[in-house]
Amino acid sequence: MAERTIIPFGPQHPVLPEPIHLDLVVEDEKVIEVIPSIGFIHRGLEKLVENRDYNDFTYVAERICGICSFIHGLTYCQAVEKVLNVTVPPRAEYLRLVWSELSRIHSHLLWLGLIADSFGFESLFMYSWKMREEVLDIIEETTGGRVIFGSAKVGGVRRNIEKDKLAEIQKRLDKLEHDLKSITNVFIEDASVKHRLCGVGVLSKEDAYHLGAVGPMLRASGVNQDVRVATYAKYKELDFVPMIESSGDSYARTIVRIREVYQSFELIRRTIKHMPDSEIDVKVTGMPTGEFCARNEQPRGEVVYYIKGNGTKFLDRLRVRTPTFANIPALLKVLPGSDLADVPVLVLTIDPCISCTER
């Protein structure tokens, strides 16, 4: 029998932009068992709610993760608004939707680049990130920031996007959507890409469901679940349907994300078309009392914010359950039995975001 060896993977590793540590128990080239250890980026920011004003905490919530920053801030605001019984004006809801979907496009393009990098397709990596810059330009022009937007606030949004600007954004997105075909076709059709992704890391429908996977990881295994259907009133008005694949391998996860990118373009198009005229924020008075659990669909999956207010301007408790955390059990399920060379690809297929997992 072949000897067992433990190979440490991370925390500082070329394919990982962020530190996570895995002890890979291998027999020859096959992975037998995986032992994760996390906590390298733990900051302890949930406790900060105890001495930050609940309005100011939106900035901290946005900095839980620099990639889905807007949706983090937004979900926090939604939770506080619910506790305070604030109704957000319709235009603010639609603007939030535009920024959420722009975040999704930029996050998925970022991921497509990273996955290409993990199987050594450097030029594809470069092209994906080049296209991503176009989205970041739009974000920067409308919010002022490239990765941390700072445009969500309790009671609405901080900035408006004027009508002319929306029309211009629409034109640029149309062009980008067209240009994007040149790289997504490579992911879908290229033989060398398929060779690295097809049949790698298969997660069955039952496992995905029972291990509580979320986001594209879950949908690629054929489970129809997307929080956008359940919680956001506005997505219903836009005829949103989740993207599902059935094969459950790395290729399926890639396809789900690519289809979601195009879907986001379509959602933004419909949002811009139906954008109502109204105020963009309401005045917020009172102090949060009571508790609420807000859910939202991030590019990586479902995020849950639990808040508890005690009638003062400081909250009692904040708890965040982030998508990567929910996907780690699924990752540990697909790694054993895989080749050592496929480990980077598999780690990346859950789209790990360690800073939000550890907070």
């Binding site: 070329p14 530190p19 900051r43 900095r63 620099g66 080049k130 810059e133």
Partner: protein, 153 residues
Amino acid sequence: MSVLSKSPWVIHYDGSSCNGCDIEVLAALMPRFDVERFGIINTGNPKHADIFLITGSINEQNIGIVKNIYEQMPNPKVVLALGICATSGGIFKDCYNVYGGVDKVIPVDVYVPGCAVRPEAIIDGVVKALGILEKKREQDCGGNCSCSGEGAC
């Protein structure tokens, strides 16, 4: 441009950042900003690196890793603290697991502000680091070799 004639290699480590600064580091390597045109390459191996880019602050878990990477890098070396978190702890300064900026454990040569730090600022910081690297190289060599103190060795 004489300092740019040498190609510094960088290594990047994410302390306890929110990711915002990290993706900007990667963005600086991408076609839009393209630091590779200066010969700057992102390497995963500390022994190949001249410049240490660090984002995020220092905490209990990563203190040893940051020191370890720093010690493995060959002399001369330059450390860049990217973003407010790496400079002082920034918005997370009051968190119980955050010790503060990177300069708590290793000497920092260039501080690059911003939250998130912009790719242009990163490039500016790296260009400043090149000057410092050159100076350190001259000091280290001290003229005991064939270059007679010009640092060309």
